[in-house]
């Protein structure tokens, strides 16, 4: 369960990213956060992952107020989240396998078990056989799948994706959208921040529409 209670995020002196935002997301739900550029979509995801802290209000993840987490506790919160970034943040000097292995290495998985999980994640996103390739050798769609594989390899309970279909052609974007649907169907809570929600329309997700940091009813 994710719950925002009157959450505001301000950037001094006068910037307001979120303004008294309240909503909740049930476990296993697929939720789209939409709105124009600058509406506050990315800020919502950053607050859930404790990348930023709210200026006011409470952000509850699994009953835990992540806005007030102490620094040493933040890594353990993030290990239960799968993060897909707008700029993907792939390591271009590492192979596909090593990129996906990174979260497991961080979490301290034994190498043998980690390797098994990486192979399973590669299967899930259709990248099996590309383990040794460098990200630069992948197409845009494959790079996005790699980013998704890295996000899900730790089998997180919550998947947060920021514009995961941006810069992809319609066919590839559709395939990527279907991958998120697959994860939601196995019980993962999925929050996707996107400007283009038409791709996800067939899955009938719940939509949260933001405008200037406020939820539009």
């Amino acid at each position: 369960m994710i719950r925002f209670e009157q959450v505001s995020r301000r950037y001094p002196p006068a910037g307001v990213a979120l303004d008294g935002l309240s909503f909740s997301v049930a476990p296993g739900e697929l939720v789209l956060i939409t709105g124009h550029s600058g509406a506050g979509k990315t800020t919502v995801l950053k607050l859930i992952a404790a990348i930023e802290r709210p200026s006011a209000g409470a952000v509850l993840v699994g009953g835990q107020d992540v806005g007030h987490l102490k620094r040493p506790a933040i890594p353990f919160l993030r290990r239960n989240l799968g993060l897909i970034f707008q700029d993907q943040k792939l390591l271009f000097d590492r192979s596909v396998f090593e990129n996906i292995m990174l979260p497991l290495a961080i979490a301290g998985f034994p190498p043998k078990e980690a390797a098994g999980r990486v192979r399973a994640a590669l299967d899930k996103v259709g990248l099996r056989g590309r383990e040794r390739a460098l990200p630069v050798a992948l197409s845009g769609g494959e790079q996005q799948r790699l980013a998704i594989a890295r996000a899900v390899v730790g089998r997180p309970g919550i998947l947060l994706a920021d514009e995961p279909t941006a810069h992809l052609d319609p066919d590839t974007a559709g395939e990527v959208a279907a991958i998120f649907r697959d994860f939601q169907q196995v019980g993962v809570t999925v929050l996707i921040a996107t400007c283009d929600d038409t791709l996800f329309a067939p899955f009938a997700p719940r939509r949260l529409v933001l405008d200037h940091g406020k939820l539009i009813p």
Partner: protein, 300 residues
Amino acid sequence: MNAWLAQHFRALAWALSRLAAAPVNTLLSLLAVGIALALPAGGQMLLGNALQIARNANAAPQVSLFLALDADRKAVDDITTRLKNNPQVKELRYIPRSEALKRFQAREGLAELLAALPSNPFPDAFVVTPRNADPTAMDALRDEFRQWPKVEHVQLDSAWVRRLDALLRLGRTSVVVLAALLGLGLVAITFTTIRLQVVSQRAEIELSRLLGATDAFICRPFYYFGAVQGLLGGAVAWLIVLAVTLALRAPVAELAALYHASAALQPLGVPDSLLLLAFAAGLGWLGAALSLGRHLREPV
């Protein structure tokens, strides 16, 4: 436990791979560290050899007891017993006044002079080698001997001991000061190297934080990097000192021969070598810690 070990192994492997990835930079850094550490390590080697030469110089400090001219056989026996029972006395040698006279008579030019004297001017004497050559202990022994009956004069042969002691203390202090100053150099080198590594790894560090890496996970490879660089630099210093020792061995032996002595320059012993390596690795670790404290404290 396996996961913990695996993380340490991974961090060590990363550190080694980073060192191997830039061989020229690594070599130059190791040379800088090695030369910086070779100076105090060389000083320690020379100090150790000086100490050994002094010990081998057959010049153990001694205390001479001169008895009163009227001391009889009983007094001599009494002093002998006291000395034998004294735990501070390692060796003793009795020189009867008649033998002292004979020795001086044997010296050129003194026989006639001594013959002109009405009686033997030399007293009975004891030459004592103390168990503890420390100047303070020798002073205490002298004061004790002075209290004994029929002991007219006690001569302490400790001036050279004090000089040697002072010289060795000066040498040790110099080595410590040199080690501290050049150790700072090692810390500075590691600090800069780690800073460059952090800058070049910024993207990976930022990503790792976002994926749930703790500070320990992020810092560990850099700690290993600093420690391994320090350790290898220490090994370079050890090799430099060894090379210098071998190069100086023959000239030092020749010099010693001119003074009718024998001296074979010894390289750093095992304890000093291990200390050097541990010191170097520790300073590398410290440099890494300082650099990480400065460059990795970001609230991501």
